[in-house]
C-alpha cells in the first residue's frame, strides 16, 4: 500500500512536469532562449518536494523533443550563441580578475610601513651584506651604458 502511494506520487510528479514542459514548448522565437529556464523552474517547483533534482533532469529530457523542435524551427542558434557568450564572459572576467589580483599583490608589497618587502639599500648607500663573499672595505662600482 505504501509503495503504491509512492508510485502514485511519482507518476503525478512526472505527469505534472511533462504537462508543464509541453505547455511551454510553443512559445515564439524571441522567448525560446528563456523557455528552458522556465521549463526547468516550473519542473523544479512542481516536483522538487517529491522526487528531487534527478527526476527534474529526466522530465526535461522528456520535454526536450518539443523544445528542440521549436528551437530548430524558430531560432536554432539562440541557445548555442548565448551559452558561448556567457562562457567567454566568465573566462574573460576571471582572467582579468587574476591580473588585477596580481597587481594588487604587487601593490601591497610596495614599501611603506608593514609591507611584506622593503626595497634594499642601493649600492654605495650601505655596506654589502656580510655573507662572506665581499671585502666590505670597498663599495661596489657601477658603470651603465
Amino acid at each position: 500500500m505504501k509503495s503504491a502511494f509512492a508510485l502514485l506520487a511519482l507518476t503525478a510528479a512526472v505527469g505534472t512536469s511533462v504537462f508543464g514542459a509541453l505547455s511551454a514548448a510553443p512559445i515564439p522565437a524571441p522567448d525560446v532562449t528563456v523557455t528552458p529556464t522556465a521549463t526547468l523552474m516550473q519542473s523544479t517547483s512542481s516536483t522538487a518536494a517529491l522526487v528531487g533534482s534527478a527526476l527534474v533532469g529526466s522530465a526535461q529530457v522528456v520535454t526536450s523533443p518539443a523544445a528542440i523542435t521549436s528551437a530548430q524551427t524558430d531560432a536554432p542558434a539562440a541557445h548555442i550563441v548565448l551559452a558561448d557568450n556567457d562562457s567567454d564572459e566568465h573566462w574573460f572576467k576571471s582572467r582579468k580578475k587574476h591580473h588585477d589580483d596580481e597587481n594588487d599583490d604587487e601593490d601591497d608589497d610596495d614599501g611603506g610601513m608593514g609591507s611584506k618587502a622593503m626595497n634594499p639599500a642601493p649600492a654605495g648607500t650601505a655596506p654589502p651584506p656580510a655573507n662572506g663573499l665581499f671585502n666590505n672595505a670597498t663599495p661596489p662600482q657601477v658603470q651603465a651604458n
Binding site: E106, D109, M118, A121, A123, T125, P129, N131, L133, A137
Partner: protein
C-alpha cells in the same frame, strides 16, 4: 717598546692576509635586444652542494618584482636584506652594465657556482639565465645567457 713592536707585528700579520685575500672583480653584462622593459637580474652564489651562499648583485631596486627572479627568490625567500648595498638599476634591452665588486679571493676554484636569474615585465621569466662555475679558467670569457643576457664576462 718591546710590547709595541709585538703588537705592531701581530697587527700586520693579521691585516696583510686579509687584504691579499680580496680582489676587485668586474662583471660586464651585455643585454640582448629583447624589445621589452628594463630587465631585473640577480647574481648569486651557491656552494658545491648547491646551497645558497650569498648574493653578489641585484639589478632592479623594487623588491615587489623579486619574486619573478624565481631561483634567487626561492633561495632567499625574497629577503631584500640579501641585496642591501649591492643593488643597482634595472638594465634596458641592448644596454650593458659593468659592476666591480671587491670579492674574496677564496671564491674562485673552490666549487662555488655563479647563478644569474633574469626577468622582464610581461615577458617570460628566465631563472638560470646563466649558471657558471666561479673558476679562474672562466675569467675573461664571454658567457652567453639563455634569453635576456647576451654575454657576461668576469674579469679581474
Amino acid at each position: 717598546m718591546k710590547t709595541l713592536m709585538t703588537t705592531l707585528a701581530l697587527t700586520t700579520a693579521l691585516t696583510v692576509p686579509g687584504l691579499a685575500s680580496a680582489r676587485p672583480v668586474t662583471f660586464s653584462t651585455q643585454m640582448t635586444n629583447y624589445y621589452g622593459n628594463n630587465a631585473y637580474f640577480a647574481m648569486y652564489v651557491t656552494n658545491a652542494n648547491g646551497a645558497y651562499v650569498g648574493s653578489l648583485w641585484m639589478a632592479g631596486g623594487n623588491a615587489r618584482y623579486y619574486r619573478h627572479l624565481s631561483g634567487w627568490y626561492q633561495a632567499t625567500g625574497g629577503d631584500a636584506a640579501q641585496v642591501s648595498g649591492i643593488t643597482g638599476a634595472s638594465v634596458g634591452s641592448g644596454r650593458s652594465v659593468k659592476v666591480t665588486l671587491d670579492l674574496q679571493d677564496a671564491l674562485f676554484d673552490a666549487g662555488y657556482v655563479l647563478h644569474v636569474d633574469a626577468a622582464v615585465e610581461n615577458m617570460p621569466e628566465s631563472p638560470k639565465e646563466i649558471v657558471v662555475p666561479l673558476s679562474k679558467a672562466n675569467l675573461g670569457k664571454a658567457i652567453g645567457g639563455r634569453r635576456y643576457i647576451k654575454s657576461l664576462t668576469i674579469t679581474e
